[in-house]
């Protein structure tokens, strides 16, 4: 995508300690940006999708669509710094004792046409997403809702009935694309939301212009106007920023960040633990139905070298587990390191000496081909030969879900529970590693039926230990998410894509 539309998906923000670290790695803001100031138009450059771009927030798929959707609309909840759901349009949520009925109290908020946000709008929005004939992205996350038995108690109270006990229901309310639109909206050519900016104009493939919503429930934005501009090439976004044609450039490469971090012309904002990078082994077929061979691959990976070479140092080493620094991450599991001798012994034991394994990869996400090449190199001398096969980027994720035995993997941030539900249960729709264990499914059901946070953390810990020991995901690193701004821009949070504070322009000002 060119890589413009390839880097889609959820991304998230790591724990507090990491946030502090990020603050240190960011250039000090220029004095002009130090104090909040009202007014001005901020121009933000994103990669776009041309023909694909839409204003319907439920169809949002690309980063620029997600950023626009959050400027115009609100969700009931969104993901905070530890990638746990926090209330947004929902003021509070209260489950019943068995976690099957949830009472949501709405904040006092109004849509841009002056009408209040009501329980009926929430039910109508979710009914649209859950339409059996439609394929909205948030549908899977909301599918636990029993809509027929859910109701509006009054204008500001919704009661959701769930099909099963589900303590992580707020994660569903924060799902990608689960925006609240006015009841029965069908036409999104002039979107009306409850978010911090109002719609002004849209030129597909070029730009979207918004203006401030002075009545926003969380306070009016500092900016008078916000313009999203499409620039697909990373170099073009950087040049536009350097040339003063935009004030914000989304998704820059580590190389760009390194070249301009100290120049003073731009400020670089890095968000750690944003996108996990790795390889997926399929457990339901040869050769990785053999546990010894999976462990051999775990031990072949030189994770620090992969991070240094592929991410140019803009990232951290991973431990074959998703969600470092997020709520419920099993940080007590020891870090796995390269051990060539042990790997060789395991390959011998598995009878796989001399075997050639194809590693499917593509340019669907930044750094995947490079990482695959480096990993193939690291496997030299182990008895295994890894052959890198570069496939079609546009269909890569669908191809590798079905075909092959080893493939490059990348994912943005989402709650650990969502990662498990989408990818690691027998019923998961994107179970690339074909991890189907009835006892693991049972643990998941136990976790999401457990109200007590500590008890739940223990169950998630057990699940992560089993994944670390036996699973099919070899995860070697977490890439920083990199954004560049003009030094006069203040209030940019270092939050990765699609968490609440990522691309959040109502808290940003022009100094």
């Amino acid at each position: 995508m060119n890589t413009q539309h390839s880097r889609r998906g959820f991304l998230g923000l790591a724990g507090l300690s990491v946030v502090t670290l990020a603050a240190c790695s960011t250039s000090p803001a220029a004095p002009a940006a130090a104090t909040p100031k009202s007014g001005g138009r901020l121009r933000a450059a994103f990669a776009g999708g041309g023909a694909k771009e839409v204003l319907d927030p439920h169809l949002a798929n690309l980063f620029n669509e997600a950023a626009r959707a959050k400027a115009v609309y609100d969700k009931l909840a969104d993901l905070g710094a530890d990638v746990a759901a926090q209330p947004r349009l929902a003021e509070k949520w209260e489950p019943n004792a068995d976690l099957t009925r949830w009472r949501i109290t709405l904040r006092q908020a109004v849509f841009h046409d002056g009408k209040p946000v009501r329980a009926q709008d929430v039910l109508s929005s979710y009914a649209r997403i859950l339409d059996p004939g439609k394929a909205f992205r948030a549908k899977a996350s909301l599918s636990l809702i029993d809509l027929a038995n859910s109701r509006a108690v009054d204008d500001r109270t919704v009661e959701f009935a769930l099909k099963r006990p589900y303590v992580e229901f707020p994660n569903a309310l924060a799902a990608f694309g689960a925006y609240i639109v006015p009841e029965d909206t069908q036409d999104f050519t002039r979107p009306v939301g409850s978010g911090p900016f109002r719609f002004v104009s849209f030129e597909p493939g070029k730009s979207v212009l918004l203006k401030k919503n002075s009545d926003y429930w969380e306070g009016a934005p500092y900016l008078d106007e916000l313009e999203f501009i499409i620039a697909n090439e990373e170099s073009a976004r950087t040049n536009a920023l350097l040339g003063g044609q935009v004030e914000y450039a989304h998704d820059l490469t580590p190389t760009t960040a390194r070249s301009h971090a100290s120049g003073g012309k731009v400020t670089i904002h890095r968000s750690p633990n944003s996108a996990v990078q790795g390889f997926a082994m399929k457990l339901d077929r040869a050769p990785f139905d053999n546990r010894d061979l999976r462990e051999a691959l775990f031990l072949l990976a030189d994770r620090p070298q992969l991070v240094e070479s592929t991410l140019a140092g803009s990232g951290q080493v991973a431990n074959d587990l998703f969600g470092k620094g997020y709520q419920f991450y099993a940080g007590d599991i020891p870090q796995r390191e390269r051990d060539l001798d042990k790997a060789k012994a395991l390959i011998k034991k598995a009878g796989a000496e001399g075997l050639t394994i194809k590693l499917d990869t593509s340019t669907a996400a930044a750094g995947m081909v490079e990482a695959a090449t480096i990993f193939a190199d690291q496997a030299k001398g182990s008895g295994l030969t890894i052959e890198v096969v570069t496939g079609n980027k546009d269909t890569y994720w669908a191809d590798t879900l079905k075909n092959g035995s080893l493939s490059s993997f990348r994912s943005g941030a989402m709650p650990i529970e969502s990662h498990i539900a989408q990818r690691l249960l027998t019923t998961s729709t994107t179970n690339t590693t074909k991890w189907t264990r009835p006892e693991f499914d049972a643990l998941y059901q136990k976790a999401v039926s457990t109200s007590d946070t500590q008890a739940r953390a223990a169950v998630y810990g057990e699940m992560q230990r089993s994944l670390h020991a036996d699973g099919g995901y070899l995860l070697w690193g977490f890439a920083d998410w990199i954004v560049g701004t003009s030094p006069k821009v203040g209030g940019v949070a270092t939050a990765p894509a699609n968490t609440l504070d990522w691309a959040r322009f109502d808290k940003v000002w022009l100094g």
Binding site: G9, P204, G243
Partner: protein, 309 residues
């Protein structure tokens, strides 16, 4: 003249056939690409059930031949159909992409033709002189620099470094913004066309009719510009046509580097998302412009040098 008209009519009929052939081949090629628009749209959430729903919503569950037939039927009524992905009319994509592409192409040609003739004639009239050798070296050197490399250097020096002109077209195609893209688009065609003009001019100046005209004592400037030049331009016209075709196709690299949302960008996006109606709409536009430009070039060459008939 009657010969010219019947020639043009035959070429037009052939052109319609060519456009249909191109559209058919493009349809088959996009069918042959791995995956379809539904798979491309599902991206990193390739839930098979979800892909099936998207496919049904796009009408991709219909047989390919039927979809192609429906589309051709629409085309006969000048209806290009709607984008599979966004549902917006394909004609909108073509119109918004064509505007910047046509503007750049027109400005490039307006500058290209006189500059190429000037350089080519200047070199030809002083064949073998230091000026001729210098122009040859520069044009061979410049011609070997790819557009993207030249663009990157020009942006770094004049856009970002010196700040004389805006580095990208973000915010619209103002005159200052057009400077760098035009330089990049002009660089290689000027080299190739001026070389052709030079060669044609040298050949014409040494031809029998020029020698004869000299013997008759006709003014040397009149010989050069009224007699030799038109003959010298005939070979260059074909190259101008090829350049025009290249420009009207939307020069993808230049559009990407300078953020110009022209036809090239529309094409790249449409192919990546397997948005077949948009790709086919573009194929029609490109085929029509290619046929039209070549026809015009042939007619122009015919007028310039009737003996080439």
């Amino acid at each position: 003249m009657a010969g010219l008209i019947s020639y043009a009519a035959r070429r037009l009929a052939l052109g319609v056939g060519q456009v249909l052939a191109v559209v058919t081949v493009v349809f088959l090629l996009v069918q042959a690409l791995p995956g379809d628009a539904a798979v491309a749209l599902a991206g990193d959430d390739p839930d098979p059930a979800r892909i099936e729903l998207i496919r049904a919503a796009m009408g991709l569950d219909q047989p390919p031949l039927r979809r192609f037939g429906d589309w051709l039927w629409g085309l006969l009524h000048l209806d290009f159909g709607v984008s599979l992905v966004s549902g917006r009319p394909v004609a909108d994509f073509l119109a918004t992409g064509l505007a910047p592409t046509a503007l750049l192409a027109a400005l490039t040609l307006v500058l290209l033709v006189p500059l190429s003739i000037l350089v080519g004639v200047a070199a030809a009239l002083r064949e073998g002189s230091p000026l001729d050798r210098a122009l040859t070296s520069v044009s061979v050197g410049l011609h070997s620099i790819p557009e993207f490399a030249l663009a990157v250097v020009l942006i770094a020096v004049f856009g970002v470094g010196l700040g004389w002109v805006p580095p990208t077209a973000v915010g619209g195609l103002t005159p200052a913004v057009l400077v760098l893209p035009l330089l990049v688009l002009l660089a290689r065609p000027i080299c190739s066309i001026s070389r052709l003009v030079r060669a044609g001019m040298i050949e014409a100046l040494s031809s029998d009719y020029v020698r004869h005209a000299r013997r008759l004592g006709i003014d040397v400037r009149r010989i050069r510009f009224a007699h030799a030049l038109p003959n010298a331009l005939a070979p260059a016209v074909q190259q101008v046509a090829r350049t025009t075709d290249w420009l009207l196709g939307g020069v993808i690299v230049v559009e990407a580097v300078f953020v110009i949302p022209g036809l090239g960008t529309v094409l790249v996006d449409a192919v990546a998302s397997r948005d077949l109606p948009v790709v086919q709409g573009l194929a029609v536009v490109f085929a029509v412009t290619t046929v039209a430009v070549n026809l015009l070039a042939d007619l122009a060459a015919f007028r310039l040098a009737p003996r080439s008939r």
